[in-house]
Symmetry: C2
């Protein structure tokens, strides 16, 4: 079972927005056992849409389409699909019309003509009720080809996929499952990793496929199995892999570093806080992005200015002058300071130069001190991240701090 | 001048990573006046790559390709391109080999065989030196079609685009420019916006194209001009637009809310801090993502646990019991508390229920109190975000706080 994902909109083609819908949809389709052959982004013009559908339907039976359903004049997908699937007229989808009236009333917006038009769909399609927005989804099924059109707004598309599309796909297609399993490594470069595990990789059976997925918090290894019969093999293969890289495996499953750290804290009944300078709240934000994090995360101090380090965290002002804010002792004092202030078992602290400016010959951009305070002491480490890319340095410093905490929790 | 962007890798097709490279590349190409007709993501198999290149080169003269150049066994792009462009043999790119040796030495990694192989490129291409990684880029130019192959790691691709590709494109193609200009609105829904500005939009000349780009921090309006002669018209058109939506325009230019707020703080010589509960450090992280933010951002307290609100920020414990942590008075006390503690002119505070759990009938998930402390007092507002999507609620609450601060700064 093969599919394609089609995203429509000039905002994607000129790079004003990054398409995150395709990744979301492909995760769901893969979990259902539907392979995604390709993802295509095109302009919202009639010709582009028709040409793309013709080309995609040569190789696949299912196209999930997002975008081009908004109330504004540059959104033409609905009318092109009506034409493509030979729909003679538009009909009003009553549940949508009522829902739009209700949404406008609740939010205190006036119901406008473009809202009313959004409740209309081509006669030949099945309208998919969109709880979270004004544009319904549409399900076209003709000559063995299925096209599903969804709004481009991510949370509307997500709601429709979960509540309307998945169950229809399961009914419509006879599906077998593709199984993926993932393992997260940290602290080993992709090239070195591939060298170290080469003999293991070479011995994999042909129906298991390995992929290396570099992320800001380590390289993920993913095994994909395209035959149901052998899916039990993946855990065994990963078990065998552990012998090759015992020091670099964070854990099993498609999780991020902050998930693994959160799980460990929860299991051990411990709490954590952060004191952040160069990471500017990023570590706190990563930790609290996880639902239920209030069980182990209590709070943070972002001490960007030195007087906040001194007055709030109790860092010795003289040490800042003597060693600089980016130094081992300041990072360690920040970690102990927030651990004491917020009363947590563990604490992470960062102090560094995120860039692109602010570097010196002794402390170039990308120099970061990370400290982890534990119930029994404090550990610290300096990292030379080696780039002037601010976003990358913030992400790497945050991941390094989480990984140091993970190691401390594993001891 | 038309182009296509091709991203190669199963990790994209199964949704393990979101393709951000295409958006980056398309922004650069558009700025050069090269239109991006489509973006395509495909599997790293020989057949997919050959089929995609054949299809793309029917309509465009330039394809920028990313991915599939890593040192591991699932990366085959280089060999398929060698075959596609009839290259008889591989040759070693000496600057790359020396660079890889140096990189390995600096990072204390052993130089492995796969690193050595990365320095090899097909004879027919021009190798593009990659300062930030081990795999060089490749420039193929044959029968009027140009293919540029770059590594998939974003910062390596970005370095190569900036330092190697842009100048070669300018030399190779006779380029005219497309001009885009953007304006950020906040606080008005897309459908209402299109209704309010309909008469302005209808009167736009045919060579100007309007797009609505919804973002977590407001709807962006973008005008694109495809003829050089008329590019001066865009500022005049935006000026005319101001009369239609005077209360909803944040500012001109393709900036985020945090950029506009940062610029205002800098111009006014004022400082800011945050006290964050449900946003968990997100606002601090947004503010500090901007280089130079230390000029106005001093620090934050993430007060996730109530005792941090009380002990660090000085919130009245009795008020938390009486009114709940998600209440007007607690948000206001948090804002004033951090303003006093960190000694800033302004402060933002958030207290709410990000979800998906934790809601009550009186305070459902998505209920957020935002307070802004100014030099002369404190303002607060309750938002009912109306979804159970944790990420969306955190993003919206953060944007609402920044917008309230923006309004306070504009007064």
């Amino acid at each position: 079972m093969n599919s394609a994902i089609l995203t429509i909109g000039d905002e994607i083609l000129i790079g004003q927005i990054t398409d995150t819908n395709s990744a979301y949809i492909s995760r769901l389709l893969n979990a259902l056992g539907i392979k995604v052959n390709n993802m295509l982004s095109i302009s919202d013009s009639r010709q582009s849409i028709v040409r793309a559908l013709d080309a995609l339907f040569e190789h696949v039976d299912l196209a999930i389409i997002t975008g081009g359903l908004g109330p504004t004049k540059d959104d033409i997908t609905k009318h092109v699909l009506a034409e493509y699937f030979n729909s003679k007229k538009m009909v009003t989808h009553e549940p949508t019309l009522l829902h739009v009236q209700e949404m406008c009333r609740k939010r205190g917006f006036e119901m406008v003509e473009s809202n009313r038009l959004q409740a209309q769909v081509p006669e030949v399609c099945e309208a998919l009720f969109n709880e979270q927005g004004t544009a319904p989804g549409m399900w076209f099924d003709k000559n063995g080809k299925v096209a599903v059109s969804l709004p481009g707004v991510p949370f509307e598309m997500e709601g429709l996929m979960q509540k309307q599309v998945i169950s229809r796909l399961q009914k419509r297609f006879a599906l077998s499952r593709i199984v993926h399993q993932t393992l997260l490594t940290y602290g080993i470069a992709e090239s070195k990793l591939s060298e170290v595990i080469a003999s293991w990789e070479d011995a994999l059976p042909p129906y298991l496929r390995l992929a290396y997925l570099p992320t800001p918090s380590g390289v993920k290894l993913r095994l994909s199995c395209y035959e149901t019969a052998s899916e039990n093999e993946i855990p065994e293969q990963f078990e065998a892999l552990k012998k090759f890289i015992p020091d670099f495996i964070v854990g099993m499953g498609d999780y991020l570093l902050e998930d693994f750290v959160g799980q460990m804290l929860k299991q051990q009944g411990k709490t954590v806080s952060t004191a952040e300078s160069c990471t500017g709240g990023r570590i706190a934000s990563m930790l609290t992005s996880i639902a239920g994090s209030s069980a182990y995360f209590k709070g943070s101090v972002v001490s960007y200015a030195n007087d906040v380090k001194v007055n709030v965290l109790g860092v010795n002002a003289y040490d800042i002058v003597r060693y600089g804010a980016v130094s081992q002792t300041v990072a360690e004092q920040m970690a102990r300071g927030v651990q004491r202030l917020v009363k947590t078992d563990y604490a992470m602290a960062t102090s560094g130069i995120a860039g692109p400016g602010g570097g010196t010959p002794e402390k170039p951009v990308g120099t970061v001190w990370v400290a982890v305070a534990t119930p029994s002491g404090v550990q610290s480490q300096m990292f030379s991240l080696g780039t002037a890319d601010r976003e990358r340095n913030i992400a790497c410093a945050s991941a390094n701090a989480l990984n140091m905490l993970r190691k401390a929790l594993a001891e």
